[in-house]
């Protein structure tokens, strides 16, 4: 709690509170990041699950740099939004759930990555993702939808 109070009183946090356009700018950036991050993940997961077979699976997994760009944008803008109201957000149930779902989504992405590497790209090239990988893709969709949902709910708790 002391840390949250300190965070909320840093120079950056004060600047976000006093400069009127700063908060909306970070929020807008957070939505643009969301479009890249969740948009990219949706495309990859749905392709693994069998959507748009005319687009090579390997090329679609190659959309990951867009996902990373969105992730970095949202970590940066999200941190700024957080310190603005650290004592409020840090104790907000929806925020804590959101962080939990992000950890789950991250571990799941790691498992997906391991599965791709272990196969040596065999099922990627053959466009035959194993059932386990399809399971990771489904979980990924669920986790990221939960991240967006809990994120949106933070303002209402």
């Amino acid at each position: 709690m002391e840390f949250l109070v300190w965070l909320e009183n840093t120079g950056i946090a004060n600047a976000i509170r006093t400069i009127p356009w700063l908060y909306p700018t970070f929020e807008t950036g957070h939505y643009i990041g969301l479009s890249l991050l969740v948009g990219g993940i949706l495309l990859i997961d749905l392709r693994v699950l069998g959507m748009a077979r005319a687009l090579p699976l390997k090329s679609m997994i190659g959309l990951l740099p867009f996902v990373w760009a969105g992730f970095i944008i949202n970590v940066l803008t999200g941190s700024m939004l957080f310190i603005y109201g650290a004592t409020n957000f840090g104790t907000n149930g929806a925020f804590l759930l959101k962080m939990g779902f992000m950890v789950l989504a991250g571990l799941n992405a790691l498992a997906f990555d391991v599965a791709v590497r272990r196969s040596g790209g065999v099922w990627v090239a053959a466009d035959r993702p194993p059932a386990l990988v399809k399971g990771f893709a489904t979980l990924s969709l669920v986790f990221w939808i939960c991240v967006v949902t809990t994120g949106r709910w933070m303002a209402y708790l």
Binding site: I32, A52, S59
Partner: protein
């Protein structure tokens, strides 16, 4: 204006405005629809501009159902959000700008679809779109990201 006042007085408008979960639920759907629409349409536009050339141009057509799903989800959730405070939204300049951007983005997408897939079908893969088509793709990105920005700023601007 009488219509807008009637609209926000209907049981739908009241439900969205006053229920605990109505507004956040619709906002969540609106965010997810945005990710679907911008993700799929954005990728098509970037491909036309020459990014990710390993994706076959004609195959990009298979992303259109996802774009339509996102658009439909957002048309419905957006309309319901609108009914909760119809007069306020209608009078907001930022909201009006967003609507104009969506109309422009839609017209642009229709035009792009026609040209890209015709060019791709005629030229075979990997098709390289004409300068005019690339121009449409670039403005499309501006319109749709502009709509995202305007949408987020409705709450902060007149």
């Amino acid at each position: 204006m009488a219509f807008l006042e009637w609209l926000q007085g209907t049981w739908v408008g009241q439900l969205v405005a006053t229920s605990l979960w109505g507004y956040p639920l619709l906002e969540t759907i609106h965010s997810l629809g945005m990710a679907m629409l911008i993700g799929s349409l954005g990728l098509i536009n970037l491909r036309v501009l020459g990014v990710k050339r390993d994706l076959p141009m004609l195959g990009m057509r298979q992303l259109l159902p996802l774009a339509w799903l996102g658009f439909t989800l957002n048309a419905i959730s957006g309309t319901l959000l609108f009914t909760s405070d119809a007069v306020y939204f209608f009078e907001s300049y930022t909201f009006r700008i967003k609507m104009v951007l969506i109309v422009l983005g839609g017209l642009n997408a229709a035009l792009l679809g026609q040209r890209v897939f015709r060019e791709a079908a005629a030229g075979g893969a990997p098709a390289s779109p004409t300068a005019g088509t690339k121009w449409i793709a670039a403005t499309s990105l501006v319109f749709w990201f502009g709509a995202v920005i305007a949408g987020r700023l409705i709450a902060y601007t007149p």
